[in-house]
């Protein structure tokens, strides 16, 4: 067992979340944007598990489980959409999909 300040684990979760956020804002490739969203979800899960470890409660890990289930559902639909978009536009650039005219 670890006796770290809660600040350190929470700060790590914050750093990972901000890296994912910058990734979503900076990249224009859909695959990289989906990966950055995964990074952000994972950072949120880390925050939940760290808080659950701080109070020795199982609730943090349960929230992490829900986050993983949601990430799996989101990424399956998201990747299917990426395949559709690539099939129609022959590119993964998000700006190419800006007109919404199939």
């Amino acid at each position: 067992m670890l006796s770290l300040p809660l600040f350190h684990t929470m700060a790590l979760a914050g750093v990972l979340f901000v890296i994912g956020l910058i990734g979503v804002l900076v990249r224009r490739n859909l695959i990289f944007m989906l990966m950055s969203i995964e990074i952000m979800l994972n950072a949120a899960g880390l925050a939940f598990v760290a808080a659950g470890a701080r109070w020795a409660a199982p609730d943090g890990q349960i929230m992490f489980l829900f986050i993983v289930a949601m990430a799996a559902a989101e990424v399956s639909v998201g990747l299917a959409l990426v395949l559709q978009l690539y099939h129609r536009l022959k590119t993964l650039d998000t700006h190419a999909a800006g007109t919404l005219r199939g």
């Binding site: 990972l16 900076v26 799996a72 990424v75």
Partner: protein, 172 residues
């Protein structure tokens, strides 16, 4: 044992940074797997072995395999990497980077002023997690299963259209 945490945290941050600056999606994916494994080790250090196992099996094992399949189907070549270089120049970086660093500074400030006592106590084993999950959180489990079903139906629907609309003569 505390000393183990800081190198792992550095590995996680560096690997995650490498994910968002890569231009080849496969390399970014491998860095993302390293980052997830580092976070799994942190879960284990925090006394959450069940969450650590799930991180490896579900995140690094299942979700990233989905990414690998899609990248395989998208047929990434040298020309797409060159196109990615064109889309990803320095001018795009600065604005979001500055805003993100400001956000991070505020977050760290709030956490520092928060009462930061030491983490830790007993480890929360898989049994305690399961007892709570199928007790007070049962409705959440059912809703998560419905969400996964909806994701399955949606992905099947979208993926089927992609196969049917393929032009008859050409490969792709």
């Amino acid at each position: 044992m505390e000393i183990v945490f800081y190198p792992v945290a550095v590995v996680a941050v560096v690997a995650t940074l490498m994910v968002i600056v890569q231009t080849n999606p496969v390399h970014a994916l491998l860095y993302l797997i390293v980052s997830l494994l580092a976070v799994a080790l942190i879960f284990y250090l925090l006394g959450a072995p069940f969450a650590a196992a799930l991180e490896v099996i579900l995140y690094a094992g299942a979700i990233l395999v989905l990414f690998v399949f899609v990248i395989m189907m998208l047929n990434v070549g040298a020309d797409t990497i060159a196109a990615e270089h064109r889309l990803f120049h320095t001018g795009i970086w600065t604005g979001p980077l500055v805003l993100g660093v400001v956000l991070l500074a505020e977050l760290v400030y709030v956490l520092m002023t928060f009462d930061a006592r030491t983490a830790g106590g007993a480890a929360v084993e898989a049994k305690a997690v399961a007892v709570a999950m199928f007790g007070p959180y049962l409705l959440g489990v059912e809703l998560a299963s419905l969400l996964l079903l909806a994701g399955l139906v949606g992905a099947h629907h979208l993926g089927r259209g992609w196969n049917l609309e393929r032009p008859a003569g050409g490969g792709a």
